[in-house]
């Protein structure tokens, strides 16, 4: 148990967190090494923020261990916290302080020696694009700038581990792009873990993804692994004009063994929209068309589409796993 691997900067060992009888996290384990950007993916309430807070040392887990650079977070909090930069979900900073004043405050608390304080803060500010905002009050900054101050704050004292809780929520598209570039630059010689529920962000930024729901890890894998998974799933969408044919159509589709995750929705104009997943090697379209024509179903449209990360994620949430591909 107490034998952390020194090469991994972050190590979560069988971490559980209970609020009363509710498990926010259940037996979560993972490792993150230097130079990795790991995305923590999950719907709201999945336990992302709880995991981030445990990782940042805000509160201890109910059971399990967290090691930062091999140091147990809750046995030697001082040493472990020294190695962490944390950007909380809602970046809440003192509104009545100036940016530079605030960063100086943080730097002193993180133990940056007095003689290099000034230069240290200057370099963090220019890295985050804050060089002209030093004397502005934090309370008057826009959300994007506040996020930058939050990031600058996390970078003070050069922590090798960065914990970013939903770093891009509430920003406009150009700000999101800037923050992502910053994160990518930071990830080169650090371990970065970021939580998000924006799926494209993961494929853009992260080397590895950990999917989490209801406090448990559903899947974890690198982005190429996910991509290969994307290739061998596809969705077929069917549109039927007369919704009286709906039940018959569903029955027919249900009898085909390769059809998975079948679902039907009513459209506004009385049309029925049916979709299901299948594997791309066998193109089911001609077979379905033939079946539908034979039965006299008012088929209007049939279309195949590649599954997006979103579909996989939603599928995972529903079934709990996807062919055991990641685990």
């Amino acid at each position: 148990m107490n034998n952390p691997d020194p090469s991994s900067l972050i190590q979560f060992e069988n971490v559980s967190k209970k609020y009363g009888s509710f498990y926010a996290l259940r037996d979560v384990s993972f490792e993150i090494k230097e130079g990795e950007i790991v995305g923590f993916l999950g719907p709201n309430g999945a336990g992302k923020t709880t995991a981030m807070r445990i990782l940042s040392g805000f509160f201890p887990p109910t059971s399990g261990h967290v090691f930062i650079r091999g140091v147990d977070m809750f046995k030697h909090p001082h040493e472990a916290k020294q190695a962490i930069g944390y950007l909380p979900e809602t970046v809440s900073l003192y509104p009545d302080m100036k940016v530079i004043e605030y960063l100086r405050f943080v730097a002193k608390l993180k133990g940056v020696p007095a003689y290099e304080l000034q230069g240290h803060i200057r370099s963090r500010m220019s890295f985050c694009g804050l060089q002209d905002s030093g004397h502005r009050l934090i309370g008057r900054l826009s959300k994007g700038y506040r996020q930058r101050v939050g990031l600058a704050q996390a970078l003070v004292a050069d922590p090798p581990v960065l914990v970013l809780d939903e770093p891009t929520t509430g920003l406009d598209p150009s700000q999101i792009k800037e923050i992502r570039e910053l994160i990518r630059a930071l990830g080169q010689n650090r371990a970065v873990i970021l939580s998000t529920h924006i799926l494209p962000e993961v494929s853009m930024l992260c080397d590895r993804v950990i999917m989490i729901n209801q406090g448990q890890i559903l899947a974890s894998g690198t982005v190429p692994e996910l991509a290969s998974c994307l290739k061998d799933r596809e969705a077929i969408h069917i549109r039927i004009l007369d919704n009286q044919d709906r039940n018959l159509a569903l029955k027919l589709l249900g009898s085909i063994p390769e059809v998975e995750a079948l679902k039907a929705e009513e459209e506004v104009s009385g049309e029925t929209f049916i979709s299901f997943e299948t594997s791309p090697e066998l193109d089911l379209r001609p077979r379905i068309m033939k079946l539908f024509v034979e039965q006299g179903i008012s088929l209007a449209e049939i279309q195949r589409q590649q599954l997006t990360l979103e579909d996989i994620f939603l599928g995972l949430l529903k079934t709990g796993k996807l062919g055991g591909r990641f685990s």
Partner: protein, 258 residues
């Protein structure tokens, strides 16, 4: 220690950043000035015609005692309002703005956070007392006379009483997210302690002694009379550190609570 001072300094300067701190300082300065002037004038009035006030001779009234003793007693009532307002922001505001979360993730111990905050507020309170020395200077320069030791003891006693009240306020502030609830809570608790002082006037029995011993006001009275008693010092220290300890426990509860 550097970290404690960093937090203390931030806490101290945030008192000046907010209108609450500045307004309270102004209010305290003006109100205590009014008290002082009234006391000086009433003393002057008695001194011109002691018989009218039922005093056979004037020599029994000590000038220091009459003016400064009553001055410090009156100030203690102002503390009932001052302490809740000065402390209502310390933890409640940080909880409301969620800035406390970030503070907990820095390499700091809980003790450093609590001690820093307490120290900052104590320093602010001490600066509130500085302008009061101006009254002394004016009083002295216009020909008034007083004895130094009792006056300085009065200041010391007032600062100790204030520190004790502020420690209680910081503790209550750590319990709630709402500054208003914190202020009202602190006010109620201080009121209860204040009432402890009256128990011996309205009831008899050995237990009344316990109440009056627990009352900060009873211990403060000695200071206003110019008496320095170790018991009183010990009482205030105990009161202060007890609430400091409670505050520490209260912020540690995040470890087992959501």
């Amino acid at each position: 220690m550097r970290k404690v001072l960093t937090i203390a300094r931030k806490e101290f300067s945030s008192c000046f950043h907010s209108w609450v701190g500045v307004l309270m300082a102004t209010f305290f300065f003006l109100a205590s000035g009014v008290f002082f002037v009234i006391l000086v004038l009433s003393y002057a009035k008695i001194s011109t015609n002691p018989q009218q006030y039922g005093l056979s001779n004037f020599s029994g009234i000590n000038q220091t005692q009459y003016i400064f003793g009553s001055f410090f007693s009156n100030l203690s009532i102002m503390l009932l309002f001052l302490a809740p307002i000065l402390t209502m922001r310390s933890f409640s505001e940080e909880r409301r703005q969620e800035t406390l979360e970030l503070l907990f993730t820095y390499p700091l111990s809980d003790f450093e956070i609590v001690a820093g905050k307490q120290l900052g507020i104590l320093c602010f309170f001490a600066t509130l007392l500085l302008p009061l020395s101006g009254y002394l200077a004016v009083f002295r320069s216009t020909g008034g006379e007083f004895e130094w030791i009792p006056v300085l003891l009065g200041f010391l006693g007032f600062w100790l009483l204030g520190s004790a009240y502020l420690a209680a306020g910081v503790f209550i502030s750590s319990l709630t997210k709402s500054p208003v609830v914190s202020a009202l809570g602190t006010f109620s608790v201080l009121l209860v302690f204040w009432i402890f002082d009256w128990v011996k006037d309205i009831a008899t029995g050995p237990w009344t002694h316990i109440f009056s011993e627990l009352s900060p006001l009873a211990h403060y009275k000695n200071f206003t009379l110019g008496i320095l008693d170790v018991q009183d010092m010990v009482f205030f220290c105990f009161f202060f550190f007890y609430f400091l300890f409670l505050t520490l426990r209260s912020i540690e509860t995040r470890n087992w609570k959501s």
